[in-house]
Symmetry: none
């Protein structure tokens, strides 16, 4: 019995290429390829894949967010995150979302295939030395404010939008910076995007 794989990537060229590479392996089978994570549910029900290999950054989607949904709703489907960027934040985000592995696109198909096999037997493979534990989840208000920051709003504008004082906004911003271990709102936003906290 082959390991059933579902590929998710908005780059057709990349996805079909990886499909070819994986199908060179006798123990792996790509049951389908989709370029929109919105089709995930349908495909999971249809094929019941063992492993879902998903890109972390897609045009209008975030692989991390979809991983969270899959882990919650279809825990038998294990997720391997693919990424073109080798960032600690991405690795951390994938780990926390419940993925089983993080594979950089710079790696060879050999390593992807191995990550899939490890995942299939339930072994998570993450470089533990690169997991930082940003274990301070943001509160609802903080997330809301972070979202506004990413939309290029000033603290004064945010205070108007949320009908709270500028001081309050500043306080929340401070909390956000502390929790995300960022030195400024720029760093916070970049980190949050990488962590999949905001779009």
């Amino acid at each position: 019995m082959k390991i059933k794989i579902l590929l998710v990537d908005d780059h057709l060229l990349v996805m079909h290429g990886i499909q070819q590479l994986l199908e060179n392996e006798v123990d792996l089978e790509v049951v389908n390829t989709i370029c929109y994570p919105a089709l995930l549910e349908r495909e999971i029900k249809k094929h019941n894949p063992d492993v879902i290999v998903m890109d972390i950054r897609m045009k209008n989607d975030n692989g991390i967010e979809w991983t969270r949904k899959i882990v919650k709703t279809y825990p038998t489907c294990k997720v391997v995150i693919l990424s073109g960027y080798d960032y600690d934040e991405y690795i951390q985000a994938a780990y926390e979302a419940g993925a089983y592995a993080f594979v950089n696109k710079e790696n060879s198909s050999f390593e992807l295939a191995n990550a899939i096999r490890q995942t299939y037997v339930g072994i998570k493979s993450f470089p533990t030395d690169r997991l930082h534990n940003y274990n301070s989840p943001l509160t609802t208000t903080e997330l809301k404010i972070l979202q506004f920051i990413s939309e290029d709003k000033t603290n004064a504008e945010i205070s108007n939008l949320l009908h709270i004082s500028r001081r309050t906004v500043e306080h929340h911003v401070s909390s956000i910076l502390r929790k995300l271990d960022a030195d400024s709102r720029v760093g916070a936003v970049v980190k949050a995007i990488k962590l999949g906290l905001i779009g």
Copy 2:
């Protein structure tokens, strides 16, 4: 006689996948794959490829700059630019650098293969309607500074890193804001990430 192709992409997984896809075509032959454009000259001399398929954004390299060099030094090698981002500025840049085609990674291998064939016979294929709206791309320095901004550096820090005055950095930042139509460095970074200008 098959069309001789040289692949250049720092993402092994992607490159080897595309290699497989292209080798399904009877008239195409991938003579080699390299993940550093620095190896281009050697490979060109060795294989004299007809078409070079190169990623536009690589880890420490810029596909556009390398295209310019190839066009100037080895005009018999025609370049097809691959990109994960369907961005007018990229298309324009590829065109002006002298590439023969711009293929988005969202396209199928069919389209890449066709672009290669068109290129081989000397036909440039660019979406002409997208070559007009050229709204000031960022210069190399601006991109470098934008990258530092995204790494949470202050203008003073950037000035030290680049050995230029803080005023100069400030000037570049305002140019970046103007060109990206952002109100602050946060907005610029968010936009740049979405546009794929920076990691």
